[in-house]
Protein backbone atom coordinates (compact mmCIF):
# COMPACT_ATOMS: atom_id res chain seq x y z
CA UNK A 1 0.00 0.00 0.00
CA UNK A 2 0.88 3.64 -0.01
CA UNK A 3 3.91 4.74 1.90
CA UNK A 4 3.43 6.99 4.86
CA UNK A 5 4.24 10.32 3.27
CA UNK A 6 2.17 9.83 0.15
CA UNK A 7 -1.33 10.66 1.37
CA UNK A 8 -0.25 13.92 2.96
CA UNK A 9 1.80 14.88 -0.09
CA UNK A 10 -1.20 14.25 -2.36
CA UNK A 11 -3.48 16.21 -0.05
CA UNK A 12 -1.10 19.15 -0.09
CA UNK A 13 -0.79 19.23 -3.86
CA UNK A 14 -4.52 18.87 -4.40
CA UNK A 15 -5.18 21.69 -1.97
CA UNK A 16 -3.40 24.24 -4.14
CA UNK A 17 -4.32 22.81 -7.52
CA UNK A 18 -6.64 24.94 -9.58
CA UNK A 19 -7.68 22.10 -11.84
CA UNK A 20 -8.36 18.40 -11.41
CA UNK A 21 -5.06 16.49 -11.30
CA UNK A 22 -4.67 13.19 -13.04
CA UNK A 23 -3.39 10.12 -11.16
CA UNK A 24 -0.49 10.08 -13.61
CA UNK A 25 0.62 13.60 -12.75
CA UNK A 26 0.16 13.03 -9.02
CA UNK A 27 2.13 9.80 -9.19
CA UNK A 28 4.94 11.61 -10.92
CA UNK A 29 4.96 14.42 -8.39
CA UNK A 30 5.06 12.28 -5.29
CA UNK A 31 7.05 9.37 -6.70
CA UNK A 32 4.45 6.67 -6.98
CA UNK A 33 2.30 4.88 -9.53
CA UNK A 34 -1.08 5.92 -10.94
CA UNK A 35 -2.61 2.79 -9.53
CA UNK A 36 -1.30 3.50 -6.09
CA UNK A 37 -2.54 7.07 -6.35
CA UNK A 38 -6.00 5.95 -7.28
CA UNK A 39 -6.13 3.60 -4.33
CA UNK A 40 -4.81 6.31 -2.07
CA UNK A 41 -7.29 8.92 -3.27
CA UNK A 42 -10.09 6.42 -2.83
CA UNK A 43 -8.95 5.92 0.75
CA UNK A 44 -8.77 9.64 1.39
CA UNK A 45 -12.22 10.24 -0.07
CA UNK A 46 -13.62 7.47 2.11
CA UNK A 47 -11.96 8.95 5.19
CA UNK A 48 -13.38 12.40 4.55
CA UNK A 49 -16.81 10.95 4.07
CA UNK A 50 -16.60 8.82 7.18
CA UNK A 51 -15.46 11.84 9.21
CA UNK A 52 -18.31 13.94 7.81
CA UNK A 53 -15.96 16.59 6.46
CA UNK A 54 -17.27 19.65 4.65
CA UNK A 55 -15.11 18.83 1.65
CA UNK A 56 -14.97 15.82 -0.61
CA UNK A 57 -12.27 14.47 -2.88
CA UNK A 58 -13.91 13.93 -6.20
CA UNK A 59 -12.83 12.39 -9.45
CA UNK A 60 -13.73 14.86 -12.19
CA UNK A 61 -12.62 15.13 -15.79
CA UNK A 62 -9.99 12.45 -15.44
CA UNK A 63 -8.50 13.85 -12.28
CA UNK A 64 -9.00 14.51 -8.61
CA UNK A 65 -10.00 17.73 -6.97
CA UNK A 66 -11.40 19.03 -3.72
CA UNK A 67 -14.98 20.21 -3.78
CA UNK A 68 -17.42 21.20 -1.14
CA UNK A 69 -19.63 18.44 0.26
CA UNK A 70 -23.10 18.54 -1.32
CA UNK A 71 -24.76 18.85 2.09
CA UNK A 72 -22.92 22.10 2.72
CA UNK A 73 -24.10 23.75 -0.50
CA UNK A 74 -26.44 26.21 1.25
CA UNK A 75 -23.57 27.57 3.33
CA UNK A 76 -21.26 27.83 0.36
CA UNK A 77 -23.96 29.65 -1.58
CA UNK A 78 -24.45 32.05 1.25
CA UNK A 79 -20.73 32.77 1.31
CA UNK A 80 -20.54 33.29 -2.44
CA UNK A 81 -23.54 35.60 -2.31
CA UNK A 82 -22.83 37.61 0.80
CA UNK A 83 -19.38 36.87 1.90
CA UNK A 84 -17.35 38.78 -0.59
CA UNK A 85 -17.08 42.46 -1.08
CA UNK A 86 -19.62 43.80 -3.52
CA UNK A 87 -17.09 45.42 -5.81
CA UNK A 88 -14.01 44.31 -7.60
CA UNK A 89 -10.75 44.82 -5.81
CA UNK A 90 -8.35 47.35 -7.32
CA UNK A 91 -6.13 44.48 -8.45
CA UNK A 92 -9.02 42.71 -10.15
CA UNK A 93 -10.21 45.88 -11.85
CA UNK A 94 -6.75 46.65 -13.19
CA UNK A 95 -6.41 43.14 -14.51
CA UNK A 96 -9.82 43.30 -16.10
CA UNK A 97 -8.90 46.60 -17.73
CA UNK A 98 -5.70 45.13 -19.17
CA UNK A 99 -7.64 42.20 -20.60
CA UNK A 100 -10.33 44.50 -22.00
CA UNK A 101 -7.90 46.81 -23.77
CA UNK A 102 -5.21 44.33 -24.77
CA UNK A 103 -7.18 41.22 -25.62
CA UNK A 104 -6.30 38.59 -26.53
CA UNK A 105 -3.65 38.52 -23.84
CA UNK A 106 -1.88 35.80 -21.87
CA UNK A 107 -1.53 35.59 -18.12
CA UNK A 108 2.19 36.17 -18.40
CA UNK A 109 1.64 39.30 -20.41
CA UNK A 110 -0.81 40.61 -17.84
CA UNK A 111 1.62 39.75 -15.08
CA UNK A 112 4.41 41.61 -16.85
CA UNK A 113 2.27 44.68 -17.29
CA UNK A 114 0.96 44.72 -13.76
CA UNK A 115 4.26 43.66 -12.21
CA UNK A 116 2.68 41.05 -10.00
CA UNK A 117 1.49 37.49 -10.24
CA UNK A 118 -2.08 37.61 -11.51
CA UNK A 119 -3.09 33.97 -11.47
CA UNK A 120 -5.55 34.33 -8.64
CA UNK A 121 -7.13 37.47 -10.05
CA UNK A 122 -7.44 36.01 -13.54
CA UNK A 123 -9.07 32.98 -12.08
CA UNK A 124 -11.51 35.11 -10.11
CA UNK A 125 -12.43 37.14 -13.16
CA UNK A 126 -12.91 33.97 -15.10
CA UNK A 127 -15.05 32.44 -12.40
CA UNK A 128 -17.10 35.62 -12.37
CA UNK A 129 -17.60 35.24 -16.07
CA UNK A 130 -16.05 38.59 -17.02
CA UNK A 131 -13.16 37.12 -18.97
CA UNK A 132 -12.54 33.81 -20.63
CA UNK A 133 -10.03 31.89 -22.67
CA UNK A 134 -10.45 33.03 -26.26
CA UNK A 135 -7.47 31.52 -28.02
CA UNK A 136 -4.03 29.96 -27.76
CA UNK A 137 -0.84 31.77 -28.45
CA UNK A 138 0.47 30.25 -31.70
CA UNK A 139 4.02 30.62 -30.39
CA UNK A 140 5.92 28.11 -28.30
CA UNK A 141 4.17 27.17 -25.07
CA UNK A 142 0.79 27.85 -26.61
CA UNK A 143 -0.20 30.10 -23.75
CA UNK A 144 -3.89 30.58 -23.12
CA UNK A 145 -5.06 33.95 -24.32
CA UNK A 146 -7.82 35.75 -22.49
CA UNK A 147 -10.49 38.14 -23.64
CA UNK A 148 -13.59 39.68 -22.21
CA UNK A 149 -16.94 37.90 -22.41
CA UNK A 150 -20.34 39.02 -23.69
CA UNK A 151 -21.39 39.11 -20.04
CA UNK A 152 -18.71 41.73 -19.42
CA UNK A 153 -19.98 43.89 -22.28
CA UNK A 154 -23.47 43.56 -20.97
CA UNK A 155 -22.45 44.61 -17.47
CA UNK A 156 -20.61 47.61 -18.82
CA UNK A 157 -23.55 48.50 -21.02
CA UNK A 158 -21.66 48.47 -24.31
CA UNK A 159 -22.00 46.57 -27.57
CA UNK A 160 -18.37 45.78 -28.22
CA UNK A 161 -14.94 46.49 -26.84
CA UNK A 162 -14.50 49.20 -29.45
CA UNK A 163 -16.96 51.20 -27.35
CA UNK A 164 -14.53 51.30 -24.42
CA UNK A 165 -13.37 54.77 -23.42
CA UNK A 166 -10.52 55.70 -25.75
CA UNK A 167 -7.09 55.84 -24.22
CA UNK A 168 -5.86 59.41 -24.27
CA UNK A 169 -2.37 60.36 -25.26
CA UNK A 170 -1.36 60.55 -21.64
CA UNK A 171 -1.33 56.80 -21.56
CA UNK A 172 1.94 55.07 -22.28
CA UNK A 173 2.80 54.71 -25.90
CA UNK A 174 2.10 51.36 -27.45
CA UNK A 175 5.81 50.50 -27.50
CA UNK A 176 6.06 50.96 -23.77
CA UNK A 177 3.17 48.67 -23.09
CA UNK A 178 4.53 46.17 -25.54
CA UNK A 179 7.90 46.26 -23.87
CA UNK A 180 6.17 45.61 -20.59
CA UNK A 181 4.24 42.76 -22.12
CA UNK A 182 7.38 41.14 -23.34
CA UNK A 183 8.54 41.22 -19.79
CA UNK A 184 11.16 43.89 -20.07
CA UNK A 185 11.20 44.90 -16.48
CA UNK A 186 11.06 48.38 -15.23
CA UNK A 187 14.19 47.51 -13.44
CA UNK A 188 14.87 49.43 -10.28
CA UNK A 189 11.81 48.44 -8.33
CA UNK A 190 12.14 44.80 -9.06
CA UNK A 191 15.76 44.84 -8.10
CA UNK A 192 14.74 45.69 -4.62
CA UNK A 193 13.22 42.32 -4.31
CA UNK A 194 15.18 40.05 -6.50
CA UNK A 195 18.58 40.88 -5.15
CA UNK A 196 19.92 38.79 -2.35
CA UNK A 197 19.63 40.58 0.94
CA UNK A 198 22.67 42.79 1.03
CA UNK A 199 23.66 42.52 4.65
CA UNK A 200 24.65 39.38 6.39
CA UNK A 201 22.12 40.06 9.09
CA UNK A 202 19.37 38.84 6.94
CA UNK A 203 19.80 35.16 6.64
CA UNK A 204 19.57 34.18 3.05
CA UNK A 205 18.18 30.73 3.48
CA UNK A 206 14.63 30.07 2.64
CA UNK A 207 14.14 33.47 1.18
CA UNK A 208 11.68 32.34 -1.39
CA UNK A 209 8.19 33.53 -1.13
CA UNK A 210 5.17 31.50 -1.83
CA UNK A 211 2.94 34.34 -2.88
Amino acid sequence: MAEDHLPAAVEAILLVAEEPLSPELLAQLVGSTPLEIEALCGDLAAQYEAEGRGFVLKRVAGGYRYQTAPEQTPYVERYVLEGQSSRLSAAALETLAVVAYKQPVSRNQIASIRGVNVDGVVRTLQVRGYIDEVARDPGPGQAVLYGTTPAFLERMGIDSVSALAPLGEFFPAAEVVEALERGLHVVPEDELFDDPPPTGEIDETGGVDGG
Partner: protein, 301 residues
Protein backbone atom coordinates in the same frame (compact mmCIF):
# COMPACT_ATOMS: atom_id res chain seq x y z
CA UNK B 1 22.88 36.28 23.37
CA UNK B 2 21.24 36.14 20.01
CA UNK B 3 22.43 39.61 19.24
CA UNK B 4 26.09 38.75 19.20
CA UNK B 5 25.38 35.84 16.95
CA UNK B 6 23.87 38.24 14.49
CA UNK B 7 26.87 40.43 14.79
CA UNK B 8 29.04 37.60 13.73
CA UNK B 9 26.83 36.86 10.82
CA UNK B 10 27.16 40.41 9.70
CA UNK B 11 30.88 40.22 9.96
CA UNK B 12 30.80 37.27 7.69
CA UNK B 13 29.51 39.17 4.73
CA UNK B 14 31.06 37.61 1.77
CA UNK B 15 30.15 39.46 -1.36
CA UNK B 16 32.62 41.61 -3.18
CA UNK B 17 35.02 43.21 -0.83
CA UNK B 18 37.02 46.29 -1.16
CA UNK B 19 39.92 46.65 1.14
CA UNK B 20 40.92 49.91 2.57
CA UNK B 21 43.68 51.83 1.02
CA UNK B 22 45.60 51.98 4.20
CA UNK B 23 48.06 49.25 4.96
CA UNK B 24 48.41 50.43 8.46
CA UNK B 25 50.50 48.38 10.81
CA UNK B 26 48.98 50.07 13.78
CA UNK B 27 45.60 48.53 13.23
CA UNK B 28 46.10 44.84 13.77
CA UNK B 29 43.03 43.70 11.92
CA UNK B 30 43.01 45.04 8.42
CA UNK B 31 39.40 45.56 7.85
CA UNK B 32 37.40 45.34 4.76
CA UNK B 33 34.34 47.17 3.81
CA UNK B 34 31.90 45.99 1.27
CA UNK B 35 31.17 48.55 -1.31
CA UNK B 36 27.68 48.89 -2.60
CA UNK B 37 26.40 47.07 0.40
CA UNK B 38 25.83 49.81 2.85
CA UNK B 39 22.57 51.36 2.23
CA UNK B 40 23.08 54.38 4.37
CA UNK B 41 25.38 56.08 6.78
CA UNK B 42 23.97 54.22 9.76
CA UNK B 43 24.52 50.93 8.08
CA UNK B 44 28.11 51.79 7.50
CA UNK B 45 28.79 53.29 10.88
CA UNK B 46 27.14 50.37 12.63
CA UNK B 47 29.30 48.06 10.65
CA UNK B 48 32.45 49.99 11.34
CA UNK B 49 31.85 50.34 15.03
CA UNK B 50 30.42 46.95 15.80
CA UNK B 51 32.52 44.80 13.57
CA UNK B 52 35.87 46.32 14.14
CA UNK B 53 35.10 47.78 17.50
CA UNK B 54 36.40 50.95 16.03
CA UNK B 55 37.46 53.29 18.72
CA UNK B 56 37.50 56.73 17.33
CA UNK B 57 40.57 57.84 19.12
CA UNK B 58 42.87 54.93 18.49
CA UNK B 59 41.74 53.85 15.10
CA UNK B 60 41.97 56.55 12.60
CA UNK B 61 38.92 58.45 11.78
CA UNK B 62 40.13 59.36 8.37
CA UNK B 63 39.74 55.77 7.31
CA UNK B 64 36.15 55.92 8.36
CA UNK B 65 35.65 59.12 6.49
CA UNK B 66 37.35 57.60 3.50
CA UNK B 67 34.96 54.71 3.79
CA UNK B 68 32.14 57.19 3.74
CA UNK B 69 33.54 58.89 0.71
CA UNK B 70 33.98 55.58 -0.99
CA UNK B 71 30.41 54.81 -0.27
CA UNK B 72 29.22 58.06 -1.74
CA UNK B 73 31.40 57.38 -4.74
CA UNK B 74 30.18 53.84 -5.11
CA UNK B 75 26.55 54.75 -4.86
CA UNK B 76 24.89 53.58 -7.99
CA UNK B 77 22.30 56.19 -7.88
CA UNK B 78 23.84 59.39 -6.79
CA UNK B 79 21.21 60.47 -4.42
CA UNK B 80 21.64 63.88 -2.95
CA UNK B 81 19.77 63.05 0.22
CA UNK B 82 21.78 59.95 0.90
CA UNK B 83 25.00 61.73 0.17
CA UNK B 84 23.99 64.49 2.53
CA UNK B 85 23.22 61.99 5.26
CA UNK B 86 26.61 60.42 4.79
CA UNK B 87 28.25 63.79 5.01
CA UNK B 88 26.27 64.79 8.03
CA UNK B 89 27.39 61.75 9.94
CA UNK B 90 30.94 62.16 8.72
CA UNK B 91 30.87 65.77 9.87
CA UNK B 92 29.65 64.78 13.30
CA UNK B 93 32.41 62.22 13.55
CA UNK B 94 34.92 64.81 12.53
CA UNK B 95 33.68 67.11 15.21
CA UNK B 96 33.84 64.43 17.84
CA UNK B 97 37.32 63.58 16.79
CA UNK B 98 38.38 67.18 16.73
CA UNK B 99 37.25 67.66 20.27
CA UNK B 100 39.44 64.89 21.40
CA UNK B 101 42.48 66.11 19.62
CA UNK B 102 42.27 69.60 20.94
CA UNK B 103 43.81 70.31 24.32
CA UNK B 104 41.37 70.21 27.20
CA UNK B 105 41.94 73.78 28.18
CA UNK B 106 41.15 75.22 24.81
CA UNK B 107 38.48 77.79 25.04
CA UNK B 108 35.45 75.77 24.29
CA UNK B 109 32.16 77.37 24.99
CA UNK B 110 30.05 75.42 27.41
CA UNK B 111 27.17 75.64 24.99
CA UNK B 112 29.29 74.18 22.25
CA UNK B 113 30.30 71.37 24.53
CA UNK B 114 26.72 70.61 25.44
CA UNK B 115 25.68 70.89 21.84
CA UNK B 116 28.27 68.36 20.87
CA UNK B 117 27.11 66.01 23.56
CA UNK B 118 23.58 66.36 22.35
CA UNK B 119 24.65 65.67 18.83
CA UNK B 120 26.60 62.65 19.91
CA UNK B 121 23.69 61.31 21.94
CA UNK B 122 21.34 61.91 19.08
CA UNK B 123 23.62 60.06 16.73
CA UNK B 124 23.96 57.24 19.20
CA UNK B 125 20.20 57.11 19.61
CA UNK B 126 19.71 56.97 15.87
CA UNK B 127 22.29 54.26 15.52
CA UNK B 128 20.63 52.21 18.21
CA UNK B 129 17.25 52.72 16.62
CA UNK B 130 18.58 51.71 13.25
CA UNK B 131 20.05 48.60 14.81
CA UNK B 132 16.74 47.78 16.49
CA UNK B 133 14.90 47.79 13.19
CA UNK B 134 17.61 45.84 11.46
CA UNK B 135 17.16 43.10 13.99
CA UNK B 136 13.40 43.34 13.73
CA UNK B 137 13.78 42.99 9.96
CA UNK B 138 15.78 39.81 10.47
CA UNK B 139 12.83 38.37 12.38
CA UNK B 140 10.44 39.41 9.62
CA UNK B 141 12.72 37.64 7.20
CA UNK B 142 12.52 34.36 9.06
CA UNK B 143 8.78 34.76 9.52
CA UNK B 144 8.25 35.26 5.82
CA UNK B 145 10.59 32.38 5.03
CA UNK B 146 8.55 30.10 7.27
CA UNK B 147 5.29 31.38 5.86
CA UNK B 148 6.58 30.77 2.34
CA UNK B 149 6.77 27.07 3.08
CA UNK B 150 3.01 26.89 3.33
CA UNK B 151 0.96 27.55 0.24
CA UNK B 152 -2.53 28.91 0.75
CA UNK B 153 -5.48 27.55 -1.11
CA UNK B 154 -6.71 30.31 -3.40
CA UNK B 155 -8.80 28.29 -5.74
CA UNK B 156 -12.20 29.69 -5.01
CA UNK B 157 -15.42 27.89 -5.84
CA UNK B 158 -14.70 25.27 -8.47
CA UNK B 159 -18.14 24.05 -9.32
CA UNK B 160 -19.97 25.78 -12.12
CA UNK B 161 -23.01 25.77 -9.95
CA UNK B 162 -21.55 28.47 -7.72
CA UNK B 163 -20.33 30.74 -10.47
CA UNK B 164 -23.72 32.08 -11.50
CA UNK B 165 -24.41 33.05 -7.92
CA UNK B 166 -21.80 35.73 -7.71
CA UNK B 167 -23.38 39.16 -7.47
CA UNK B 168 -22.54 41.62 -10.19
CA UNK B 169 -19.31 43.15 -9.02
CA UNK B 170 -19.26 45.58 -11.92
CA UNK B 171 -22.50 47.32 -11.21
CA UNK B 172 -20.81 50.42 -9.85
CA UNK B 173 -17.96 50.41 -12.34
CA UNK B 174 -18.04 52.94 -15.16
CA UNK B 175 -16.17 52.88 -18.44
CA UNK B 176 -14.09 55.73 -17.10
CA UNK B 177 -13.14 53.63 -14.05
CA UNK B 178 -11.98 50.94 -16.39
CA UNK B 179 -9.91 53.35 -18.41
CA UNK B 180 -8.33 54.78 -15.26
CA UNK B 181 -7.56 51.26 -14.06
CA UNK B 182 -5.80 50.56 -17.34
CA UNK B 183 -3.76 53.70 -16.83
CA UNK B 184 -2.73 52.56 -13.38
CA UNK B 185 -1.88 49.09 -14.60
CA UNK B 186 0.30 50.29 -17.46
CA UNK B 187 1.94 53.22 -15.73
CA UNK B 188 5.69 52.63 -16.05
CA UNK B 189 6.06 52.94 -12.30
CA UNK B 190 9.29 54.90 -12.40
CA UNK B 191 11.42 55.37 -9.35
CA UNK B 192 11.76 59.02 -8.54
CA UNK B 193 15.34 60.04 -8.73
CA UNK B 194 17.28 63.23 -8.77
CA UNK B 195 19.45 63.72 -11.76
CA UNK B 196 22.85 64.47 -10.34
CA UNK B 197 24.85 63.80 -13.44
CA UNK B 198 26.02 67.38 -13.30
CA UNK B 199 27.58 66.83 -9.90
CA UNK B 200 31.16 65.71 -10.15
CA UNK B 201 31.86 62.47 -8.45
CA UNK B 202 33.98 62.94 -5.38
CA UNK B 203 37.47 61.72 -6.05
CA UNK B 204 39.17 63.11 -3.03
CA UNK B 205 40.33 61.12 -0.02
CA UNK B 206 41.99 62.07 3.21
CA UNK B 207 45.00 60.00 2.28
CA UNK B 208 45.38 61.80 -0.99
CA UNK B 209 45.12 65.19 0.62
CA UNK B 210 47.64 64.29 3.32
CA UNK B 211 49.99 63.41 0.54
CA UNK B 212 49.35 66.70 -1.17
CA UNK B 213 49.72 68.71 1.99
CA UNK B 214 52.97 67.01 2.90
CA UNK B 215 54.26 68.14 -0.44
CA UNK B 216 52.69 71.55 -0.40
CA UNK B 217 53.00 72.86 3.14
CA UNK B 218 56.80 72.93 3.43
CA UNK B 219 56.83 75.48 0.63
CA UNK B 220 54.63 77.79 2.62
CA UNK B 221 56.03 77.26 6.07
CA UNK B 222 53.19 79.21 7.54
CA UNK B 223 49.79 79.49 5.96
CA UNK B 224 46.12 79.38 6.86
CA UNK B 225 43.38 76.88 6.39
CA UNK B 226 41.39 79.41 4.44
CA UNK B 227 44.34 79.86 2.14
CA UNK B 228 44.87 76.22 1.34
CA UNK B 229 41.21 75.62 0.78
CA UNK B 230 40.52 78.76 -1.19
CA UNK B 231 40.48 76.92 -4.49
CA UNK B 232 38.11 74.24 -3.33
CA UNK B 233 34.56 74.28 -4.52
CA UNK B 234 32.81 71.49 -2.70
CA UNK B 235 32.26 71.57 0.99
CA UNK B 236 33.18 67.92 1.19
CA UNK B 237 36.62 68.76 -0.09
CA UNK B 238 37.06 71.32 2.65
CA UNK B 239 36.02 68.73 5.19
CA UNK B 240 38.57 66.31 3.81
CA UNK B 241 41.29 68.94 3.90
CA UNK B 242 40.41 69.68 7.47
CA UNK B 243 40.65 66.03 8.38
CA UNK B 244 43.96 65.71 6.66
CA UNK B 245 45.20 68.67 8.59
CA UNK B 246 44.08 67.15 11.86
CA UNK B 247 45.95 64.05 10.98
CA UNK B 248 49.13 66.00 10.40
CA UNK B 249 48.51 67.87 13.62
CA UNK B 250 48.12 64.65 15.54
CA UNK B 251 51.47 63.51 14.26
CA UNK B 252 53.15 66.75 15.17
CA UNK B 253 53.89 67.54 11.57
CA UNK B 254 52.02 70.81 11.72
CA UNK B 255 51.01 73.15 14.47
CA UNK B 256 47.57 74.66 14.39
CA UNK B 257 46.57 77.97 15.86
CA UNK B 258 43.12 79.40 16.05
CA UNK B 259 42.74 82.65 17.89
CA UNK B 260 39.01 82.61 18.16
CA UNK B 261 36.06 80.32 17.54
CA UNK B 262 35.31 80.18 13.83
CA UNK B 263 38.45 82.21 13.23
CA UNK B 264 40.86 81.23 10.52
CA UNK B 265 43.24 78.43 11.41
CA UNK B 266 46.90 79.11 11.05
CA UNK B 267 49.01 76.20 9.91
CA UNK B 268 52.67 76.08 10.80
CA UNK B 269 54.83 73.45 9.19
CA UNK B 270 56.93 71.60 11.79
CA UNK B 271 58.41 68.65 10.01
CA UNK B 272 61.51 68.18 7.96
CA UNK B 273 61.28 67.26 4.33
CA UNK B 274 64.25 66.19 2.28
CA UNK B 275 64.69 64.56 -1.01
CA UNK B 276 61.15 63.37 -1.24
CA UNK B 277 61.38 61.30 1.90
CA UNK B 278 59.68 62.26 5.07
CA UNK B 279 62.31 62.59 7.80
CA UNK B 280 60.41 62.62 11.04
CA UNK B 281 60.06 58.89 10.97
CA UNK B 282 56.34 58.85 11.50
CA UNK B 283 55.55 58.51 7.88
CA UNK B 284 55.47 54.77 7.82
CA UNK B 285 55.89 53.16 4.52
CA UNK B 286 57.51 56.26 3.16
CA UNK B 287 60.72 54.38 2.74
CA UNK B 288 59.04 51.70 0.74
CA UNK B 289 57.36 53.91 -1.72
CA UNK B 290 58.50 57.40 -2.27
CA UNK B 291 56.03 59.46 -0.48
CA UNK B 292 54.40 62.53 -1.86
CA UNK B 293 52.19 61.51 -4.72
CA UNK B 294 52.18 57.80 -4.10
CA UNK B 295 51.57 58.56 -0.47
CA UNK B 296 47.94 57.77 -1.04
CA UNK B 297 48.62 54.16 -0.55
CA UNK B 298 50.72 54.55 2.48
CA UNK B 299 48.74 56.93 4.47
CA UNK B 300 47.48 55.77 7.77
CA UNK B 301 45.69 57.99 10.14
Amino acid sequence: MERSEQERKTTGVNATHCSFRSRSRLVPMPYEVQTSVFEGPFDLLLHLILKQQVELYDVNLSEIVDAYLQQIEAMERRDLEVATEFLLIAATLVELKTRRLLPEDSAVELDDELGLWEERDLLLARLVECKVFKDAAAVLHSLSADAARSYPRRVGPVEDHFIGLAPDLLRNTTLEDLRAAYGRATAPKPVARVDLSHVNPIKITVAKVVGELVEELPRHGRTTFRQITSELVDRIEVVVYFLALLELFKRGIVELEQSQTFGDITIVWQGGWQGGVWQAGVWQGGAVETVAVTGIDDYEG
